[in-house]
Amino acid sequence: MDHVLLIEQFLNGFQLGIILFLMAAGLTLVFGIMDLVNLAHGSLFMIGAFVGGTLALLTGSFILGVILMIPAMLVIGIAIEMTALRTLYARDHLDQVLATFGLILFFNEATRLIWGPEGLVVPLPAFLDGSVEIGLGITYPVYRIVIIAVGLAVALGLYILVGRTRIGMLIRAGASNRTMAGALGVNIPKLFSIVFGIGAVLAGLAGLIITPITQAQIGMGEDVLILAFVVIVIGGIGSIRGAFIAAIVTGVIDTMGRSFLDVLLLLFLPANAAESAGPALSSMLIYILMAAILFFKPQGLFPPKGAQ
Amino acid sequence: MAEPANMAGLEAPSLEVKGLIKAFGGLTATDNLSLEVAPGELHAVIGPNGAGKTTLVNLLSGLLKPDAGAITFAGRDITRLSAPARVKAGLARSFQITSIFRDFTALENVMLPVQAQQGHSFRFWTPVSRDARLTAPARELLERVGLGERADVRAGDLAYGEQRQLEIAISLATGPSFLLLDEPMAGMGPEESQGLVEFLSALKGRYTMLLVEHDMDAVFALADRITVLVYGRVIATGTPDEIRNDPEVRAAYLGDDQSGEAA
């Protein structure tokens, strides 16, 4: 086996895992703290890509686009939370699923109306383009390394935020006992808006940084969303640590599975069977993994505290 | 079936608990708990809030599995048995926080356990509303607990006391020989409590009962023996008189004033 390909695909998988983590972190925070199932989280991914991409094109600088995207997504996220989602906190999960499903339709169509059906191409600045040698005779795209670095930085930041800051403590208090925290004077609605805003920024960041590779497209959020849900289900709802581990594992298995499964299958099956089963199985692989994990741990690897 | 017979026609069984331990994270809710209930006995379990009484009931009914220890029911080890299996063996429980089917009528609430007792429910055709094998016994049971007039009222619309009565009826409808009653008198006024005391009194001998209660009048009126639980540990077991006079128990729970509810 070519070790270059192996390492490359591992890194690609890791990078996919980072994107999934950014999505899953926001999702798991919102679900863990506000008990809100938000299918429209994928729409935030898409909005980040389009809005951030547009900002990048307007200012002529990708970096500036990323920086400006952050407050933009914060505002957009909080606006969505205050108008559409507030009423859903008191509702049961089915209502939340249905209402946010309706929101997806709305956002996809609104995006089509504003930017047209073709999507948006966001080019990379020259200094981020190209590849670099990372040792062992492997060259790897600079930008993908940047994505990984950004993701790890965000993971660290979240860890510090939730674990070590006052806001983080408020978040954790709100998570474990909303009513009590409210009675103690914590402004729960404001807290929820902030949490949702953070989730929106994370999703928008994920959408924007993947755009130079995949382009911004209508409906791009939905496929990532389902994977993100798989990640938080595997990782355990409400757990950022679980989301990180599950995201990386998911990304790596999915990517490497697609590359190497048919090779692996050749060890057991005749050539043409392996050739047709390969792609089919590899797209199913991550769901098989999820089913297997849930079979033994129905609440994920790091279940919420107090669960039985 | 004229009297509150033990519907299963079984002999009242014994219950033996040895060294039961259950911990939740850092909290040991049940701490090396042992007790014995003789056949036909009404054994009360009392203790302050947080003593682990409901945890004990959950462990005995199968809702929770212990970390260590053994439960023997009518001579049979049921420690690893699932909750539904324990019910089939004759062990029924009632819930402290009323656990009924709010959208069903009182009659339908009781029809379900009757149905459960009659075997499997893989019957897809006959409407239950027209099945006399379910409606007749259910109506009778409702009469017996005093809810005969209210059979067709939606359970969620019943008065609180009536819902507690329904709670007992559901437990009885499975045809048990052993009753695990978790604060059946919770929230009841004095008249209703008195009625329930009389009802349970009539069951003694035919059923073995473990009664968790805060209502000391009821406990001392009904119990053959009493176990006192504090922080998951048994601090005393004995007859009502022995318990009443036990200094440790008075210090921990009863106080020197024994009238009405305990602290």
Binding site: F31, V37, R91, H93, D95, V97, L98, A99, F101, G102, L103, L105, F106, E109, L113, E222, I226, F229, V230, V233, I237, S276, A280, S283, M284, Y287, I288, M290, A291, L294, F295, P298, Q299, G300 | S61, L63, P84, V87, K88, A92, R93, S99, I100, F101, F104, L112, Q115, A116, S121, F122, R123, F124, W125, T126, P127, V128, D131, I170, S171, T174
Partner: protein, 320 residues
Amino acid sequence: MSALTCLRNPANAFTALVLLVFATGPVVMPLIGEPFYVIVFARIMVWAIAAVSLNLIMGYGGLISFGHAVYLGLGGYAVGILAFHGVTSGWAQLAVAIGASAAVALVFGAISLRTRGVYFIMITLALAQMIYFLAVSAEQYGSDDGLNILSRSDFGLAFYDLNDQATLYYTVFAVLLASVGVSARLVGSRFGAVLRAAKSNDTRVQAVGVATYRYRLTAFVIAGVMCGIAGFLQANLESFVSPDMMSWPRAGELIFMVVLGGMSTLFGPVTGAFVFLMVSDTLAEWTIHWHIIFGPLLVLVVLFARGGIAGLLNRKSANG
């Protein structure tokens, strides 16, 4: 209660109207110069059958399956794949449709039912995605573009030929009525009592001695098979099957139809499918951007009309 008194209830009246429209469609629609609607009604009825099957586990059982559309696909591909290989026997195709749906429902149900709440919703979604991607990756059977089905299922009976539009239409109608009938029987039976009680208070059901898992699994399989049969009919109707029929937006729409009509009512899924599809078809004719109206409309329904059409109409009748 006589039929006429029944009809005084607005919800029932609406249901009767919808059924009347379905029953007389092939005759009345061509007469008023709108023959296209016959196909529309047939399509709606197929979705209604799928919605009835979902209502069984969701409305009555409390199991919110976001992967139920997968059985439409299984039934459809049973027809498509067999026809592709020259097997046009309706008996064989139907048998495979039922068998595949039952097998998949058994496996998926066994896994999913070990979870609760939102985990259940997500895992049913993810498992359905698996099958969706399987279909997309099947190059031989058209993958994304779908599979054309060149001939209708052949049951080898002289008097019963699905190539006759009326026969196909009324077969769908009959299956729709039968599925509601089966639903009614199941819900009222001992089996249904366990299912409904478990939705209301699962702990209590276990505490009276019923292991609810096996009953839920059985309901899951029954619902899957019913939906698979709907898929079989859909393939015959459209002469086409594609992975899109199993996509998760379809699954979401199916849930919506059930909720819209009124969950845990017998005919709710039928009226729900009717209204949902008529509204979306009409909106789609006005503008290609109809989702921008439809999306918020769905949100409003969830927020303000939670009991669905049945709930709305019943409230009106209760208020005089």
